[in-house]
């Protein structure tokens, strides 16, 4: 059963992923603008979008930003959360732990999309800004998970033995505790990546971090909605690709996790 789900997830996620990463290599020069919202014909396989661009070309170009921003945001969240959680778990000074973790409890209380919109109302973040924002709202939760896993590992007899042997703090923190946290993190990373994909694409749909005419699947869904009844392909194709990306990703990560837990 997990095996079949593994294959299913890999197939579902494979199509949008390949399109997103390799698509930009196969686009030609932009053709002349045609009329907006035409169905097929005239060399436009999937018709044209709201300003008369070729939909297939936009589809090929539009996945890269979604996938890359999501990957960057996930990596960035861990880069901050990992040292934060490790220090909070390994320090013997209670005040330091409270100082590091309590502010995160407060941040956890704010709905993530709201935080992104708040910042977007003042700045106009680009793609890098969006990655930074999404990473920021993911730090509290990730740091808590790191801390919990590290605290468990730090209370093992092995750490006690290392300490009695007079090993350095660095060796204990990175060499032993950090390595045991790795397993938990690998499990968390998949879940977090799908959550981040959700946030990145939803923010782009709401117009945060993207140009209004950007080649981005989420932006395509938003901007071409007005022509849904005339030219459904410009909306349905990118929407299906986003659904496949998130749905397949989740099935795949879950199957991988189940397989690892079994062995």
């Amino acid at each position: 059963m997990p095996r079949s789900r593994l294959t299913l997830g890999a197939v579902i996620v494979g199509v949008p992923l390949v399109l997103a990463l390799l698509g930009p290599l196969f686009v030609g020069e932009p053709g002349p603008r045609a009329a907006s919202f035409t169905l097929g014909g005239g060399g436009h396989w999937l018709g044209t979008d709201f300003i008369g661009r070729d939909v297939w070309r936009q589809v090929l170009l539009g996945g890269r930003s979604v996938v890359l921003v999501a990957l960057a945001a996930t990596a960035l969240a861990y880069v901050v959360a990992l040292p934060l959680g490790l220090i909070a778990a390994l320090t013997h000074r209670t005040w330091l732990e409270e100082l590091l973790m309590r502010p995160l409890d407060v941040l956890l209380a704010v709905p993530s999309l709201l935080m992104i919109l708040l910042v977007a109302s003042v700045f106009s973040p680009g793609a890098a800004g969006l990655a930074l924002l999404v990473a920021l709202v993911n730090i509290p939760d990730a740091a808590r998970i790191v801390r919990a896993a590290a605290a468990e590992a730090a209370s093992r007899p092995a750490v006690e033995a290392l300490r009695m042997q007079g090993e350095s703090w660095w060796r204990m923190a990175v060499g032993y505790v950090g390595r045991s946290v790795g397993r938990t993190l690998a499990a968390d990373a998949g879940v977090r990546l799908t959550g981040v994909l959700y946030l990145v694409s939803t923010a782009a749909f709401l117009g945060v971090g993207v140009a209004p005419d950007a080649a981005d699947w989420a932006v395509m869904v938003d901007r071409n909605r007005t022509g849904l009844f005339v030219q459904p392909w410009a909306v349905v194709v990118p929407a299906l690709l986003i659904v496949a990306l998130t749905m397949g990703g989740n099935l795949l990560f879950d199957a991988v996790l189940e397989k690892r837990n079994r062995t």
């Binding site: 409890d105 407060v106 704010v110 109302s121 299906l240 879950d254």
Partner: protein, 317 residues
């Protein structure tokens, strides 16, 4: 009993701290900008007149801590300030958008609990068999799908191809209850993610609970299966789910913003998005406070309920 009371007191204190911090955070994120806030807010048309008007309206000449104190004191009295764009009080914006959003949220939560728990119990009863496999795969797959993509596909199928439901709520105004057909798709989309997460948690909890010694003992006594499931196993299974409901509230608030944009429903989410687009900071601040405080209060409620069901489980704080 003393332990319980002190736990409730600590949890309430955390709630108060979170509320205060959220108010501070909203202010800092939107007003304590590096450089001149008035210039940043004027955005695309930075003519001196407009900048001066913004500076005047937001009292930007005064130090930030004084403005924060004034604003926070106003919030306590229910005074949210006035809009930069229209000059109307922010509270009228909130009052206008409140009805549709509350209706959407109430309908969703009212359906969420029975559907989520029902699916979870169904899957747990048939663990490993066909019904479980269908429910598990479906909830796992739909769980991560963004509302806007799911919603736009539903519009394509049910409004465009089949013509059963209206594609958006355009033209119905705020009186949505008179047009129930326009509510079907928005509520369905809002339900999609929370139902999946709730059903998965209830399933996991129920499988554990049904395998426990007390259920085996109850079976030996000959207590009917339905009673064992719903009166004995479910309350234990639902504890982790009640805590997860707090997370769900976060999703629901995000979902409401997206769904209102997608189906053109004139609720709080639409008001917020319009204010963000117009850089109408007082309106954004007011709505952010309303959304964030709602989250804090509902989180608090969920923790208290979880604590009531299973006092031995140490809930956060």
């Amino acid at each position: 009993m003393r332990g319980l009371r002190s736990w409730v007191a600590r949890r309430l204190l955390l709630g108060v701290a979170q509320t205060a911090a959220v108010v501070l955070l909203v202010f800092v994120l939107t007003e304590a900008l590096p450089g001149d806030a008035a210039v940043a807010l004027a955005g695309d048309q930075p003519d001196p007149e407009r900048i001066a008007a913004i500076r005047e309206a937001m009292d930007l000449d005064r130090p930030a801590h004084e403005r924060l104190a004034d604003w926070a004191a106003g919030l306590l009295h229910g005074d949210f300030g006035t809009s930069l764009a229209s000059g109307r009080p922010v509270s009228t914006y909130i009052a206008d958008g409140f009805g549709p959003t509350l209706l959407l949220a109430a309908l969703t939560v009212a359906l969420l609990v029975p559907v989520g728990v029902g699916l979870g119990v169904l899957a747990a009863r048939h663990e490993g068999r066909l019904a479980d496999r269908i429910v598990s795969s479906m909830t796992l797959g739909v769980y991560a799908v963004p509302e806007f993509a799911f919603g736009v596909l539903l519009i394509t199928v049910f409004a465009l191809r089949l013509g059963w439901l209206p594609p958006t709520a355009v033209g119905y105004g705020t009186d949505l209850l008179a047009h129930p057909a326009a509510l079907v798709l928005p509520v369905l989309v809002l339900l999609s993610r929370p139902v999946c997460s709730l059903a998965r948690l209830v399933r996991a909890g129920m499988i554990d609970a049904l395998a426990s010694p007390y259920v085996a003992q109850a079976r030996r006594y000959g207590i009917p299966g339905a009673r064992i499931r719903y009166a004995h196993a479910l309350p234990n299974a639902i504890t982790p789910a009640a805590q997860q409901l707090a997370r769900t509230i976060d999703w629901l608030l995000c979902g409401v913003i997206v769904v209102e944009a997608l189906y053109v429903i004139p609720g709080l989410g639409t008001v917020l998005m319009n204010a963000v687009a117009e850089r109408d900071v007082p309106v954004v601040q007011g709505l952010a406070v309303v959304f964030a405080v709602t989250t804090v209060v509902l989180n608090l409620g969920a923790d208290l309920v979880a604590h009531r069901f299973a006092p031995r489980a140490g809930v956060a704080a």
